[in-house]
Symmetry: C2
Subunit: 139 residues, 2 copies
DNA sequence: AAAAACACTGCAACATCGTTGCAAGTGTTA
DNA sequence: TAACACTTGCAACGATGTTGCAGTGTTTTT
């Protein structure tokens, strides 16, 4: 609870119930969430547009980051401390083809890729799809 | 020209002018294209819906594959021979933040990633963002 | 060569997703 | 607590993507 407010204040955002709820939802469900997921969870309390704007704000402030897979756009909490100025840019995500959930794989580093001459890389984003431990265990 | 027909026939598709044009567009512009790009290029000749369906068909037949970046969904030709049954699943794409174009990096292999225990990977998709040789050269 | 079966296209209508302007409400600071 | 700036909800809009259907063009069958 207090932690939520700290997070918001730390990113120079006013604490509102909508922002607290969105943040709380991200922290409870561990996987990446789409706007639709949030609307499903909070839609009766807040307007669609407000949720869009909350996501946009969180993105700009570096509280969440985009997660992409073949089904569309999702968002996940930034584990590393990100701010408006500096955003941790390397991400590895794992999407389970069985349950459909996408998670950040922390503590993994993307190995060096030998790019052709002339390319100047700035950020890396790796999406691995397959089966997650939970779904493998249920067979 | 003939090559186009061969590609279509090879994937058990009828040759229609729309499919030829879409395929041609992919071959001319080397980078990944969105539906909007194709609509811009061919929209006066073909219906929006037809282009959607053409993309869907090409996807199913393994002629093109999805390319994702933070701006949305795009498509690119499959260089490796893909068919309905077998689809080459590892992709590396480079998106230039300057010109906005996304290209497939062929002949690159994604290095092994040490996944946490219990994860069973099936496909890899790496997006590298940065500056491309063309844009670097223009400075 | 004609008929039957199939596949492709365009149109219209619809559903979903995301954005913008504005007025009213709320949090923050002095 | 008063003033200000930020946030929210509403309404309207635009963009994106899907579905059903009728008409047309291709194959296939006989």
């Amino acid at each position: 609870m207090e932690q939520l407010r700290e997070t918001l204040k730390g990113h120079h955002l006013r604490t509102t119930t909508c922002r607290e709820d969105v943040l709380l939802t991200f922290m409870n469900k561990k996987n990446a969430l789409s706007h639709g997921d949030l609307e499903g969870a909070l839609g009766e309390n807040y307007d669609r547009v407000t949720i869009y704007r909350t996501l946009k704000t969180f993105l700009e402030k570096g509280i969440i980051h985009k997660v992409l897979d073949d089904e569309g756009l999702r968002y996940a909490l930034c584990s590393h401390q990100c701010s408006e100025e500096k955003h941790q840019h390397d991400h590895i995500h794992f999407k389970c083809n069985e349950c459909g959930k996408t998670n950040c794989l922390e503590n993994l580093h993307i190995p060096n890729v030998a790019l052709p001459a002339g390319y100047q890389p700035e950020s890396f984003n790796l999406l691995i799809q397959g089966k997650c431990p939970e779904c493998l265990g249920n067979n």
